[in-house]
Amino acid sequence: MGREVGIVGVGQTHHSRRRTDVSQAGLVREAVDRALADANLSMEDIDTIVIATGPVLFAAVNQPEKWVVDAIGAQGKSVVRLTSGGGAGFAGALAGYYQVAGGYSERTLVVAYDKLSEGQLQYSISTLYDPFWGREFAVGIMGFSAAYWRARMDVLGHTEEAAAMVAAKNRNNAIKNPYAHQKKAVTVEDVLNSKPLCWPIKLLDVPPISDGAAAIVLASDKVAHHSTTRPAWIRGMAYCCEADNAPERSLMLSEPLAIASRQVYRAAGITNPRRQFDVVEVQEPYSCFELNYYESLGLCPPGQAADLVASGATQVDGDIPVNPSGGCMGANPIGAVGVIRLIEAATQVMGRNETHQIKDAKLALVQSGGGWANLRGCAVLSA
């Protein structure tokens, strides 16, 4: 890697089911103001900006960065937008990372958002499908995601209960998260008894629909100290893909996530992820995905995710806490989620998570992704 890059400021909105007091652009402004204040900077100190959102159809504004630029006072600056479905925020952060690592900027602001209350979420996602070939049968990616989970259940002998444990864990963790808006204690039984939406996915396996934005300031090692004495250094970061309709596409492991994590672990010197990471933040658009990530990220051997969650190891007080923030179950402004996960992990290794600090956390793993579960990435942050 060329230069060291750290996260030196973070900010997110208080996410909500529906914000009728701010426009999409105003929502972005809130997160940017908070991140700049957190980094002790103003917009003049920022060299370049990356904006990330989910698909245009979510909110009816094509290339929305061209409107949002005014709200964040970034006129005249280098501004570009990345989009990658659910992984948009993470993909944007990765582009920002390379702007700093490649010497194009010293400080880059990455802001990601979606205001999902404004559109028709599942219909918009269904247009991911080929208009000639299958779109008319799509139910967002919920139908697909449920099918993918069922395929794992049958082969691995996993039950619905394993995913229900993930849902209950994350929902209960979200209660303490000041930025989450879905905060209701649930039991595994509640999840199992909730209404099937796309069986085996049930209502409580599904995150809320949210309006929210999140921003981070990335800085080179040269200038990071102006903002904080303890940046969250990015030790490795990658985002890989697979063609979705491959003859041998594995429904068991996420191959792009396995490839990305191998690459990132090599860069970050991770040889035993279960033992080395203090905390993990993952983007689980449905509870079942978190199980897949455990295996694809090497937190447990293939096929043993159900055992891992049942063991309690991924609870806040376990040896490998996953989503102490509550993950997507507390709030799910889709395009912003990748950045929210980075913020949660960054504040952990910076030792200043407001409400759910993992004691002495020094090394954190972040996962994010989108598409038909075929865009997948991860990052390692350290104190």
């Binding site: 061209k66 005249g76 280098s78 501004v79 570009v80 937008r81 702007q99 490649g102 918009s124 247009t127």
Partner: protein
């Protein structure tokens, strides 16, 4: 800290046509991804990452990159979608290689505007409360920009028409654009009104097509056996969404982007370039670009428009494969720098490449190339 040098290794384009009726997006994409390796000694296996530019709104599908990953050659690689002209995709790719994380990247941009309603593409780009309901969009913005420029500088319509006619003739001779009959000045003036005072041919013509550009580190470039074309500077700048609040008769963002790129490259002026490829959304947008680059004084863009250094490929007026136009400029400029010259002629050594995006060129990107 030594950051890697980055070079353009090769490029490939499909023909740019008003409508590729007998090909789908994936056909255009996979064609350029296949062809870009010809003569390089490299294969897709050597590529570390793919960055693509396309538009969900033009493609008629959300996260459209997701459905095109196979055609893009991205399977099991790192991939990113920059929903802006492909020149911004190249900017990302250059940073990635300069960081030392990767050696070889494939930048792909494409669109098929023939499959959608281009006016809806632009209308959906303006904010939905004030501008969209009154019918403000790309054509209106380009029209107002032109009205003001012509009024301020007393330029005559026939001078504009001559520039347009030259671009079409040059595109017919030197580009991959499907041109058919080359219009003369009279035909440009006689065309239907697009946005008064601009006729149809005075605004860029949307075409279907795809382009792929292979970039690599300096080490890789020196091994491919051609004279490397190095990307030595890059800059981009976005202006306010509100046309009325932008500086009248200027593209400040072109000037900002050029300042960034020239500063990185260590050039005093864009006039040092032997090759200049720009992406004007209208003939006035072209003139404003020349002025923003510092090639001409304010209001004097037309004086340099006929220079044989500028837009030898015809530029964007006859051929605007939206989302790909700026990357096509990069491909064309790199070709001009690496093409053999006639005996006795001076070989060009420096180029300026320009890409644009947004309504009335709200955002602009400038690269410097050197051999």
């Amino acid at each position: 800290m030594g950051l890697s040098q980055v070079a353009v290794l090769a490029s490939a384009q499909t023909e740019l046509r008003p409508a590729w009726r007998d090909a789908q997006h994936i056909d255009l994409i996979s064609s350029v991804v296949t062809n870009v390796f010809k003569g390089t000694g490299l294969t897709l296996d050597d590529v570390d990452f793919v960055i693509d530019s396309g538009s969900d709104v033009l493609d008629g599908r959300s996260i459209s990159n997701c459905g095109f990953l196979g055609a893009l050659g991205a399977h099991h690689k790192e991939e990113a979608r920059v929903e802006e002209d492909g020149l911004w995709g190249a900017l990302y790719g250059v940073n990635k290689i300069r960081s030392g994380a990767s050696q070889i990247g494939l930048i792909v941009a494409y669109s098929k505007p023939s499959e959608s309603d281009i006016d809806l593409y632009w209308a959906s780009m303006v904010e939905p409360f004030y501008q969209r309901p009154v019918g403000f969009g790309q054509k209106a913005a380009l029209g107002i920009q032109a009205q003001r420029y012509l009024a301020a500088h007393g330029i005559k319509d026939d001078a504009l028409a001559a520039i347009v006619a030259k671009r079409w003739a040059d595109a017919a001779a030197n580009s991959k654009a499907s041109i058919g009959e080359v219009p003369d000045s009279a035909a440009v003036l006689a065309g239907a009104e697009a946005a008064w005072p601009l006729t149809e041919l005075m605004i860029s013509r949307p075409l279907d097509g795809a382009v792929a550009v292979l970039i690599g580190s300096g080490d890789v470039a020196r091994r491919t056996g051609r004279p490397p074309v190095f990307i030595t500077g890059m800059g981009t700048s976005m202006e306010t969404h509100a046309l009325a609040e932008r500086t009248e008769n200027k593209l400040d963002s072109v000037a900002n982007a050029a300042r960034m790129a020239l500063g990185k490259a260590g050039w005093d002026s864009a006039a040092a370039a032997d090759v200049i490829e720009t992406s004007g959304s209208s003939v006035i947008g072209e003139l404003l670009t020349f002025e923003g680059l510092g090639l001409a004084a304010e209001g004097k863009g037309a004086d340099v428009a006929s220079s044989d250094k500028i837009n030898r490929s015809g530029g964007a007026l006859p051929a605007d494969p939206i989302m790909a136009t700026g990357l096509v400029r990069l491909a064309e400029a790199a070709k001009q720098l690496s093409a053999p010259v006639k005996a006795g002629a001076a070989a060009p050594s420096k180029a300026i490449v320009h890409g644009t995006g947004g309504v009335a060129m709200q955002t602009n990107c400038v690269f410097t190339l050197e051999v």
